[in-house]
Amino acid sequence: MEAAIVTNGLTRTFDGLRAVDRLDLEVPQGIIFGFLGPNGAGKTTTIRLLLGLLEPTAGSAKVLGFDLSQADRIREHVGVVLEQPGLYTRLSAYDNLDFFAAAYRVPATQRKARIRDLLTHLGLWERRNDFVDTYSKGMKQKLAFARALLHRPSLIFMDEPTAGLDVPSAAALREDIVNLVRGSGTTVFLTTHNLAEAESMCDLIAVINKGKLVTVDTPDRLRTGARKPQVRIVGRGFSPQAVDALRRLPQVISVTQSKGSLHVTIRRGDKVSPVVKALTEQGAEIEEVVHTTASLEEAFLALLDETDGQDGGESRGRN
């Protein structure tokens, strides 16, 4: 199956600033693809390039099999929820969707049914005749999502769809996105700052920093790849000798002690049981052994650190 998005050395500069720098991406079809990066990383610029709203300085890309030079064909098959909801506040919700449905060439005979389906599903049908400026932020964002789905696109771009929503609204929208997308074969290209969101929704995550692609991986592998496995051992009797004995074990990389518990970093792929055995042999009483994995946030920050180089502190500080 052909990938939904393929980019080759895609680059865009603004007065010398490389907003997107030789980006090579491949987004498989039918998945939720997370595009993660700090402010100014080039996420929005990438989306604009892929929609043909900006011209690349160099490189090329194919979206749904169409080259960027056929951007009008791309726009026909793609739905968008951009940084701003892009709804006409002086039109009712229904009129908004009606306009966009016509613009996206949904046949006139199907428009009404499609709008009704979507609005009912998202719980907005009762308020369809209200002007959008009477809508809450969460409702607007839902409506923007409905607009993106009108023409049953095979790919949806979402630029921080849950930004500015309170926790319940964001959760509801996330659920709607996942429900409506899963099983329909639609690909979602989602940018976000919210790591928990990326982790819970995305099948694959790309990290971008200063226009450059840092890595692409599954959320799990990103997390585990961030640092070596660690175990926390809670108990009593962790004497200096016991700690020394641990340090001598070949599979142990480091040991730190705090408030009655030990933090042991072990080599990837090694078992914990020898560690436990060594401790009990030294007379320690063990109550609990817990594997701790890095959070995606730690992984993300570590990745940014690796790539930030000289002036890296700033973008980290913001997160």
């Binding site: 900006l54 011209e55 951009l82 892009g86 006409y88 506040t89 966009f100 613009a103 997160n319």
Partner: protein
Amino acid sequence: MKLTDKTGAKAVEEISIVLRKELKEWYNAQDTRSWLSQAFLTVGIFGILMPATAKGDVMAFVAILAAVVLPVALAGTVISDVFAGERERGTLETLLATPLSDRALFVGKVLSRVVYAWVGAMMVFAAGIITLWATKHRIRFSTGLFALPVLAAPLVAFPIADIGAIISIRAKSVRSAHQIISYFVLALIIGVSTLFVVPRDWQNATLHALERAPLLVLLCLLVVDYLCLWVSLRTFRRSRLILAACSTVQTKGNAVEFDRRETQRREDAKAAKKY
């Protein structure tokens, strides 16, 4: 042949989609009071007060008001919002992400303002004739005098709307677009007003010439309109539009945007802790 028919029909349909949206948006934005005040001012001043107090060839005066002055003034006042407004209200980028063609977007939007100017000018024209009749002025009948304003008004409004739309794309805000467009409107209206300052003989000669050759006048206007449209469609490119859009957001909204995101991030973090 078939292919061109189809693309032609599609173009017309797309233009009408944009046109309908524009008109609906504009209609919804008005409340009864603004409807009344607009109608009262325009029709009251240009359709009643001015014809009632005019001297000389009053019929020609009303015709020129309806054919030139009002189309220019009305189109000029509502065009500044056409792209700059979408940008300010944050709807431009989503609009550009639709498969609507560049041509449909531009022409649909320009036509919506032309329609507005046309309707306004015709209301004034009708009011003017009624006023002349009511104030027992002698109404001169000629096809030129009656048909010309009706047909010429939209053709006169078009170039102003067209140039205004291009200005609206490039302007930093609706307000600055409005200022620039106002100069054009003013210049044109002053140009037309000179007709009423020149000696009576010249004035009559010009008016009679125009009146006798309505088809030629319309043809000239059509040529001007076509040229304006041709030039603007060549310069209208959506990939440039968004650049202009970004740069205003960048210069104007950066600090605000950063604050918003920062607040959001803090809230997110707080919420995450709670759960």
